[in-house]
């Protein structure tokens, strides 16, 4: 899946759930703007896992991966590539 499509889907989900995200660009910090608390992160994790068919471990639930829409998308892309190469080996 193209990174632009991943960004679009993540943005759509976040805006529906947290309307304040509408005002943020893809690189603005979601954690510092108090948009995502622990409960919201759980929702985001559930969305990413079902929408992009990935599995997130506890170790991956770190601030770097949730900082912005861009970092969420980068994480999803990296994870999908990792899962694909695992399937091919």
């Amino acid at each position: 899946m193209q990174i632009d499509t991943i960004i679009l889907r993540i943005r759509e989900f976040l805006v529906t759930k947290f309307p304040r995200v509408q005002k943020l660009n893809n690189n603005e910090n979601l954690l510092e703007n108090d948009l995502l608390d622990s409960l919201a992160i759980l929702d985001v994790v559930a969305f990413l896992e079902s929408e992009f068919r990935i599995t997130m471990t506890d170790e991956e639930l770190i601030p770097e991966n949730f900082e912005s829409i861009q970092s969420l998308a980068n994480f999803v892309e990296k994870k999908q590539i990792g899962q694909k190469s695992q399937l091919n080996t």
């Binding site: 995502l36 622990s38 992160i41 994790v45 506890d58 170790e59």
Partner: protein, 346 residues
């Protein structure tokens, strides 16, 4: 990011812990609070885990466990009440909190204690949800209004009307507080000084009637309430021919009187009389409400309804039992936990 968890040394890490709690948890964090809560608990010293970002060498979060002896089925078990859990601002992405909480639960799994209880916030419940742990029961807040001038004042400005409404409401609320029928033989009074052995004797006699409950020895009550440097508590006792039958622990928050603990002979007349005594005292002190938090399965809730208490919000209670203690699981996992506000330490 690499996060490591280590157990704190209460002496060596004292300043770090007090400072971190002050910054991220409570402005009440100081040396007195620390010594009282972490060192002087008669059920044992607290255990603390510190999460550190190894790259930055910075503290990421802290979790604490306070020992608690509970009685059930006529025996006694040592467990932990979890509390003082905090994660620094920049690490609130669930992962560090999960790692910290896992470390704490692994210690329980290794057999250190028989169970742990937590009264998690909404955000902390997200951590439990991810760990696959569901609440065992709910704490239910019950409140009895004594005056409604705070509510009337919100809507009406004219003092003549509000004064009249206040007087009428006060009268109506007062007649709803009916004196229990057989109070004549009972003496209800504020307790002076420290709790003596009669409190330990009452706990020994009565605890087995209450499912799973904290061991309320005199030593524990003196530490938990009377030596508490953070809040002033008072005990109201019910006696018959000088024999202690029950007691209530109360404190004030602003204009509200909080009933923190209520314990004694499982007799509706005695408990109703004690609560009547608490409400009467609250009226004398001009309190706006009397409120308490209590487990939803508590056997006295119907009496509280009769005494004019109304149900308010609920909050979850998590009880975690190590898998190795399967035989005790049925009892400890029952909903028959007798908990009140006094059972949470922070």
């Amino acid at each position: 990011m690499s996060i490591t968890i280590r157990q704190a040394d209460l002496a060596l890490d004292k300043k770090l812990l007090i400072d971190t709690f002050f910054r991220y948890l409570t402005p009440l964090s100081d040396g007195r609070r620390f010594d009282w809560l972490y060192r002087h608990n008669p059920h044992g010293e607290a255990r603390v885990w510190i999460a550190t970002d190894t790259h930055k060498g910075a503290v990421v979060g802290i979790a604490s466990a306070f020992p608690r002896r509970v009685c059930f089925d006529g025996s006694e078990e040592l467990g932990w009440v979890l509390g003082d859990f905090c994660i620094t601002d920049q690490y609130r992405s669930l992962g560090p909190a999960l790692k910290l909480q896992r470390a704490c639960l692994e210690d329980i799994d290794s057999g250190t204690v028989s169970f742990c209880i937590d009264f998690p916030s909404v955000n902390m419940m997200a951590v439990y949800k991810r760990l696959g742990i569901n609440p065992l029961t709910q704490m239910l807040r019950l409140a009895k209004p004594l005056r409604i001038d705070r509510i009337i004042g919100k809507f009406l400005k004219a003092s003549v009307i509000t004064d009249t409404l206040n007087a009428a409401s006060k009268f109506l609320l007062a007649i709803s507080n009916r004196r229990p029928k057989n109070m004549g033989l009972l003496t209800i009074a504020l307790h002076e000084g420290a709790c003596g052995e009669e409190f330990s004797a009452l706990a020994g006699d009565v605890s087995k009637q209450y499912g799973v409950c904290s061991h309320r020895s005199a030593q524990y009550l003196n530490w938990r309430y009377l030596s508490n440097p953070l809040q002033h508590y008072q005990l109201l006792t019910v006696r018959q021919s000088n024999t202690l039958l029950a007691y209530a622990v109360i404190t004030h928050t602003g204009q509200d009187l909080n009933l923190i603990d209520l314990f004694g002979v499982k007799d509706p007349e005695i408990i109703s009389s004690l609560v009547y005594g608490v409400v009467t005292l609250a009226r004398k002190r001009n309190a706006v409400t009397v409120s308490m938090s209590i487990t939803k399965s508590h056997p006295w809730i119907p009496f509280f309804h009769q005494l004019g208490f109304r149900e308010r919000e609920e909050s979850p209670v998590v009880v975690y039992i190590p898998r190795t203690l399967a035989s005790k699981c049925n009892v400890l996992q029952s909903v028959n936990w007798f908990l009140m506000d006094g059972d949470r330490d922070s």
